[in-house]
């Protein structure tokens, strides 16, 4: 495999990260309220959660990830430690797949 695909991927991935940084600086000069830009991450994380749980490729899928997220949601609501949430989600999905 030649090197140019590797270089193209790495350079463009980094450029996207820097792009966000530069645009953030620009907006920062115009608006000074710090939290306002932070809210951008809220819908993105919410989108990430539902896409990682309910989809495979471009299809909607209900599988072991759904009960795992429900277990996690209850634990988050009960203010369980982070590690417990992560382990419980993994154990739920793994056990359900083992049984199925």
């Amino acid at each position: 495999m030649s090197w140019w695909p590797v270089i193209a991927l790495c350079a463009s991935a980094y450029a996207l990260k820097v792009l966000g940084l530069v645009v953030g600086d620009r907006l920062d000069r115009e608006t000074s309220e710090r939290w306002s830009l932070e809210i951008v991450v809220v819908p993105v994380l919410a989108a990430l959660i539902v896409i990682q749980t309910f989809t495979t490729g471009q299809r909607f899928v209900l599988d072991a990830r759904t009960p795992a997220l429900l277990v996690a949601a209850v634990l988050v609501w009960r203010k369980a430690p982070f590690v417990v949430v992560a382990l419980a989600a993994a154990a739920t999905a793994a056990l359900l797949r083992l049984v199925a």
């Binding site: 495999m1 140019w4 695909p5 590797v6 991927l9 790495c10 463009s12 991935a13 980094y14 996207l16 990260k17 820097v18 792009l19 966000g20 940084l21 645009v23 953030g24 920062d28 608006t31 000074s32 710090r34 306002s36 830009l37 932070e38 809210i39 951008v40 991450v41 809220v42 819908p43 993105v44 994380l45 919410a46 989108a47 990430l48 959660i49 539902v50 896409i51 990682q52 749980t53 309910f54 989809t55 471009q58 299809r59 909607f60 072991a64 795992a68 996690a72 949601a73 988050v76 430690p81 982070f82 949430v85 992560a86 989600a89 993994a90 154990a91 739920t92 999905a93 793994a94 797949r97």
Partner: protein, 233 residues
């Protein structure tokens, strides 16, 4: 350090990530990238979903022209993250350039889950160190040793990331406005899944924050005109 909850959380994210990194290493070598090329990708691209997509499309015969666009659509959300992290990504130019490289899902979510700017910076850096180490060691192991670990799904690791992101999103859902934005973002993303290429639904969800930002801008304009500034948010 082991009693530090942020460090412990960062470590557990690192462990789950390492298993995916092994998978990436295996897939990348199978797609005929060398071990060195595989490791270079993990150091300099450092965006899991993009790397996995890139080598998978190439392994499936899609070529570089077919592999780069989907990989970059998935990497596009890092631009949104960097935008949201402007207070965290401060410091000298070299430090900012270095921190920009580690702007990904996990570092961003960990940073924003903290209450103060100092805590956000610290969580970002700690997570970055754990994640970068885990991702690159895992990649090397996978590329050299091949698949000894099996499918991450067998350990339920595909369910760990949404659970972890939920735990990190929860403290940011202060007030009904943030809650509405979260629900709207999730719904827009799901609506776009069947019709848009992977990566686009997640980036598009950021747009629901625009009305909130504009409203914040209007509030600020009123303050500038001479009203007392609002305390708090």
């Amino acid at each position: 350090m082991s009693n530090d909850p942020v460090f412990r959380n960062a470590l557990s994210i690192g462990v789950a990530t390492a298993v995916y990194a092994v998978s990436f290493g295996v897939l990348s070598v199978a797609a005929r990238f060398s071990v060195l090329q595989t490791c270079v990708m993990s150091v300099f691209c450092f965006t899991g979903a993009s790397q996995l997509t890139f080598v998978s499309v190439i392994a499936a015969g899609g070529g570089v022209a077919g592999a780069l666009p989907p990989a970059l659509l998935l990497a596009g959300r890092n631009a949104v993250y960097a935008l949201s992290l402007k207070g965290v990504l401060s410091g000298s130019a070299p430090k900012r350039a270095l921190r920009a490289q580690v702007v990904v899902d996990e570092t961003t979510a960990m940073a924003h889950a903290q209450p103060t700017l100092a805590a956000k910076r610290r969580a970002f850096d700690l997570t970055a160190v754990c994640l970068f180490t885990a991702w690159n060691i895992g990649t090397l192991v996978g590329a050299v040793a091949g698949s000894g670990l099996g499918n991450p799904r067998d350990y339920g690791l595909d369910a760990v990331f949404p659970a972890v992101f939920l735990a990190l999103l929860a403290p940011q859902l202060r007030g009904p406005e943030a809650m509405r934005v979260a629900v709207a973002g999730a719904l827009i993303a799901l609506a776009l899944v069947p019709i848009a290429p992977a990566g686009v639904p997640i980036i598009a969800s950021a747009l629901v924050a625009v009305p909130v930002l504009l409203a914040a801008g209007r509030r600020r304009a009123r303050i500038v005109v001479g009203q007392a500034p609002e305390v708090g948010q």
